[in-house]
Symmetry: C3
Subunit: 144 residues, 3 copies
């Protein structure tokens, strides 16, 4: 399409796909602090469930811990699937990554069930060679 | 496997993944004319719901508009997910892209629900540097 | 993250994505022998439903044939979706590929339904230029 922003080259695209696979694996396996470490020190995450963003690794860790504890208490596992990903480089060297995220919930004894579908818009930056999320905004299709 | 057609190199594969992410985003957000512009001027789309293919951008635009209006009237959002993608270059410079497409339906107030799974076979061609669909055939597993 | 294993470069990642798209297509379309040929001659597959791994192409073929016959008798199609894939090269030249695999079941007449979500850990090796599975371990979130 005319006027489309150029997308990231294949090596960056593969790196971002790996980044999300690992980041969601940390989240879904309850590795809260490691997950929070995939954000910048002052990283911001605006989930659809909160009026204000969660900022900084300590607050991100705490949020992930509470979510993991809640799921464990219910005997549930969540699996975050990232798909339909576009990665667009910005002039300042950051990357805008836009995707759909499906959350599949699995209860002990089954069945698996599609829980939610979200739209995720991330600004990714590179620090010491590693990609990190500086800003994440997640929205839901089932809410206005 | 012996005798397998060679698949597209990483840069083309990443480009096709980006292509689908954008194309389905246009469709799901009701940008009917922009979506139709991801087909060639005489592009053909054979959906499982019609006996004959839809041909050309005006007809494609109209079809996407009607689909979007129908979903809006029902208070629903569709999200098309492309996965399990193979891209195979043909001798004439076109690409054959085969994938599974899941459609997730989300009603206002929820829940999200897996609506359909289709098989999509596209012939992609490059015009003025951009990939476009010249021919799309979509089939459904739940129909003979 | 500090201490993370380096991931495969883009060309290998694209090749592995193609590998899974084809391998699962063989399985889901009942091409049992072709599917078994995507494992090494002594390849091992530990599914969650069996106490011991299935070893070798004849046994793998037989297992895939039985699964396909069972689905055909029920009038069902399965579609295996691989996602959230990481590919990590090991020192011996093999690749460790870790992913989530969702199985979507579609009955004639519909609807489509999310059947299972598994975690798949493969060791892939290259023989005569082709990737093959030497060892596969699949686990399920809904079982201890």
């Amino acid at each position: 399409m005319a006027g489309q922003a150029p997308t990231a080259p294949a090596d960056v695209y593969a790196e971002v796909q790996h980044f999300y696979a690992r980041q969601m694996r940390y989240l879904d396996s309850g590795e809260a602090e490691t997950w929070a470490g995939t954000f910048t020190a002052d990283g911001s995450f605006k989930p659809p469930s909160l009026p204000e963003p969660v900022r900084g690794r300590p607050a991100l860790t705490e949020g992930a811990r509470q979510a993991a504890a809640g799921l464990a208490a219910e005997g549930q596992t969540h699996r975050h699937w990232v798909g339909m990903l576009t990665v667009t480089p910005a002039d300042d060297g950051s990357l805008t990554a836009e995707s759909q995220v499906s959350i599949i919930a699995v209860a002990q004894g089954g069945p698996a069930r599609l829980h939610l579908v979200c739209t995720c818009r991330d600004v990714l930056v590179r620090e010491a060679g590693e990609l990190l999320v500086r800003d994440r905004v997640v929205t839901r299709d089932d809410r206005p």
